[in-house]
Amino acid sequence: MSLVWLILIPMVGGLVAGLVARKNESLCRWISLSALILDSGIAINLFAHHWLGLDLPTSTRWLVEFQVEWIPRLGAGIHLAVDGLSLLMVLLTLFLGIIGVGASWTEIKTQVGFFHFNFLWILSGVIGVFLALDLLLFFFFWEVMLVPMYFLIGIWGHENRQYAAVKFFIFTQASGLVMLLSILVLVFTHAAGGELTFDYMKLLGTPMDGTFGLLVMLGFFLAFTVKLPAFPFHPWLPDAHTEAPTAGSIILAGILLKTGAYGLLRFVVPLFPAACQVFTPYALFLGVVGVLYGAMQAFAQSDLKRLVAYTSVSHMGFVLLGVFAWNDYALYGVVMQMICHGFSSGAQFMLVGALYERVHTREMGRMGGLWTTAPRLGAASMFFAMASLGLPGMGNFIAEFLVLAGLFKVSVTATSFASLGLIAATIYSLWLMRGTFFGPNDKQWKIADLNARELSLVAALVAGLVFLGFYPQPVLKAVHPALEALQQSTAQAPVPVAMNRR
């Protein structure tokens, strides 16, 4: 039952915050914050329960499970379950949610109630996505995430927010429809054999081979790579990020991209092992191109937020590589990348937002030499720029190291090209620092440094990243049983070990 509460609390919180805002705006902010804290309380209790070894007998794959009938006619039930992987993702969501609310404390002044309503409903949609094990319910939450995000970008965004909001909406919605098509084909082919059901566990074994299976897999693959975003489907991300308000950017980069990665991990490869094996070379190609293209675009940008957005494209390219390498190193690397990228990109967007509040521009041409007036802001940006280029000692390094080590087993050429991404990451991170904090302060900026609130958020994120950098064991131990189960589910199809030298 606690799983249902996990989803309901943000929803209810959003509603209450929305209503209260008419009378007193600051109370509305506190309500949404407390809703999130309460929700993360439940999640942490679940995590502690699991991690402290009190977990259930290893036979059951799911820690907590909740199942009830929804549409009996179609065999669709409300089936929520959580294992190591989804629990971590829920924790990340709530953590970044709190950071987001904190970051937008002063930034959002108009329609605060409606803002927090949308914000919390996005979070509950995302938590729903991580918990749903029924494909129809998954698709339902996948769409629930979408509409409030559209409003978030559309109403509180910057200059041409309408274009960005529409673009974001159409990209994700259209790909979602294709996924719905694939879900239905999967369900009906399964129904031909057994009974009509949308349940993930039952659908796991459906025989899906040959080009037919490949096409169905591509339906899922398309939806998740659009959300990831992988190379050819990424153009919506820079626009969405540039125009979204800070809190929007934080959860967009921190969490929404992870739903794509989670989808790939949970649905694409386990449901279609044979098709994925055939598709691996192309996916690896897309991943490598994504890494290099994203990086190259990043250091071509003059707009700060677009730069950070393209870095996310590059980092998510690693996730795609890791998923399709599908061995133990790579999978752990993917989980680490999802969490650490959440931290580092969320932080970078918060800092860029803070900078925007002070300098009212995102053009690097008009900044420069800000270190003198805002050393703490500079130091924090330096830290997270280093995190994004994968400096050892932070979580991102371990993630990228594991992904590339895992990938090395599968294809050497892909790894070597992807490693070029590390160099490119250095270039764009230094380009970012050079554009904003170093160089002469010829515009004579006099800006206030980070205040206590912002510093506390930065400190939390720094601590998180360094802790993950030097002692990621609790995370890896938590996700171990989930990844084990995932690999078992594709065990019968021979895992492509050092398959080809492509």
Partner: protein, 485 residues
């Protein structure tokens, strides 16, 4: 005329009584409230009697009219829609002067035409029903005779409906010449067994197809829709969009069930092409449109294209998909046009998108509902529209009609282009006053808001349990409809 006949004919009788009552009311004292009240009373009475009648179903009254659960279900649907239209009309005409009561007369008679159509199993009742549905519509479309555009719309509708009914007649004549009888089941039997010369029969069916295409606004015959939707007053448009299309779909569905769900290949291919064309034309034309009513006209064309997909996909899901999609579509159209009627006043209707800018801040309930209906039109989850589209997908996938499903997906994507601008306009804009009718959105008739909210609730609440259908009575009628064939 034994007692069973009387009971079977009760809906028609009641509506006639209502018509007479309204005429007498008009002749004594022209009061708008009284006329509307009587009409509403007529509709509700008939609607409430339907379950009683269903006990005597299936009962053929004279060889041309059959009252069965299938017919009663759709009659219920049409009556509910007409009731909503009456409420809208009351809200709409409350602020207008001039001769308003005739509208309700025409509405009653047109609804009666719909009921005849739904129950018809014979060419004559098909023709009479269709004409009884259309003739009052000509006047309803051109009801505000001072507005040049509505006169133009009425003329266009009259001429084109005339031509289409001429085609219908000629088709029927060919059928009659080929088979010698005018009863649907006999004709279909003769057609299947092939003893009658099949070519005139096929030609007859083709020409009837023209009339059906015209009424459902499928692609080559859709040209009239945008002009009539734009010209006609809002309540009439909602009536045209829902009841007339609903009735014709019911006839099509009955023919489909009579033919045992088997459609010859040539028909499937040609109608798939038409369906795909309708989807694309409807969505593409609605894309850059600035006039809200024309946008809804084009999107109704594309929706009929989607509906045809369910028919052509066939299989056991087809009937259920069509019924549900039709219900969802009708409710959404009633909702959207209801909002337009609700927001219009003496000066005119809020037609341009700009009129809706900033509506959210002035009249949140109307704006909220309007967004909800638009979301349902685009088929976004949480709305009945989504479940409708989901059924279409299921029917299509079940029968692996890939081309249709592919175009359905592409069009839903194009449909998305349509949604944000509307949502954006009345939600995201600042509190700016719209110049055309500043008072738009302020004043709203009590009943009009009630019905709009009803549609809203149905939409959202419809989602989780519609398949096992909220209205148990409707559901078993639906199932029983199958057993009766």
């Amino acid at each position: 005329m034994n007692s069973a006949d009387i009971i079977a004919l009760l809906p028609l009788i009641l509506l006639t009584l209502a018509t007479i009552a309204v005429m007498l009311a008009i002749s004594f004292k022209r009061s708008h409230g009284l006329a509307a009240g009587l009409t509403a009373l007529g509709f509700t009475a008939t609607f409430l009697l339907l379950p009683a009648i269903s006990r005597v179903a299936p009962h053929p009254v004279t060889p041309i009219y059959l009252v069965d659960t299938f017919g009663l279900f759709f009659s219920g649907l049409l009556l509910a829609a007409s009731l909503v239209v009456t409420l809208l009309a009351y809200g709409y005409y409350e602020t207008r002067s001039g001769f308003r009561e005739e509208f309700y007369l025409l509405l009653l008679m047109s609804a009666m035409g719909g009921l005849v159509l739904v129950g018809s199993t014979h060419l004559v009742s098909l023709f009479i029903g269709l004409e009884l549905l259309s003739v009052p519509l000509y006047t309803m479309v051109g009801f505000s005779r001072t507005a040049r555009r509505s006169l133009e719309a009425a003329l266009k509708y009259l001429v084109l409906a005339g031509v289409s009914s001429a085609f219908l007649l000629f088709g029927m004549a060919l059928l009659f010449a080929a088979t010698g009888s005018m009863d649907f089941s006999r004709i279909l039997e003769m057609g299947r067994s092939g003893d009658a010369s099949s070519t005139p029969l096929m030609a007859g069916l083709a020409l009837i197809g023209v009339a059906v295409g015209f009424k459902l606004a499928i692609v080559p015959f859709h040209l009239w829709t945008p002009d009539v939707y734009e010209g006609a007053p809002a309540p009439t448009t909602s009536f045209v969009a829902t009841v007339s299309k609903g009735a014709m779909t019911a006839v099509l569905l009955r023919l489909y069930l009579l033919a045992g769900g088997v459609i010859p290949d040539s028909t499937v291919t040609i109608f798939s092409i038409l369906a795909i064309l309708s989807m694309f034309t409807g969505n593409l034309l609605a894309l850059m449109q600035n006039n809200v009513k024309r946008v809804l006209a084009y999107s109704s064309i594309s929706h009929l294209g989607y509906l045809l997909v369910a028919f052509l996909a066939g299989g056991e899901y087809a009937v259920e998909a069509v019924t549900f999609y039709l219900t969802a579509y009708m409710v959404t159209s009633l909702g959207t046009f209801g909002i337009i009627a609700l927001l219009s006043d003496r000066e005119g209707e809020p037609e341009l998108l700009q009129d809706y800018s900033g509506l959210f801040w002035r009249n949140p309930v109307a704006a909220g509902l309007f967004s909800l209906f638009l979301l349902s039109l685009a088929g976004i989850p949480m709305t009945a529209g989504f479940i409708g589209k989901f059924y279409l997908f299921a029917a299509g996938v079940d029968h692996s009609a890939w081309l249709l499903i592919g175009s359905l997906v592409i069009n839903s994507a194009i449909g998305l282009f349509l949604l944000p601008p509307d949502c954006r306009f009345h939600v995201c804009r600042s509190r700016r006053k719209s110049h055309t009718n500043p008072s738009a959105g302020k004043r709203s008739g009590k009943p009009a808001r009630a019905d709009a909210r009803f549609c809203g609730y149905f939409l959202v609440w419809g989602l989780p349990r519609v398949p096992d259908s909220s209205d148990p009575q409707r559901d078993n009628r639906l199932n029983s409809a199958y057993h009766s064939f």
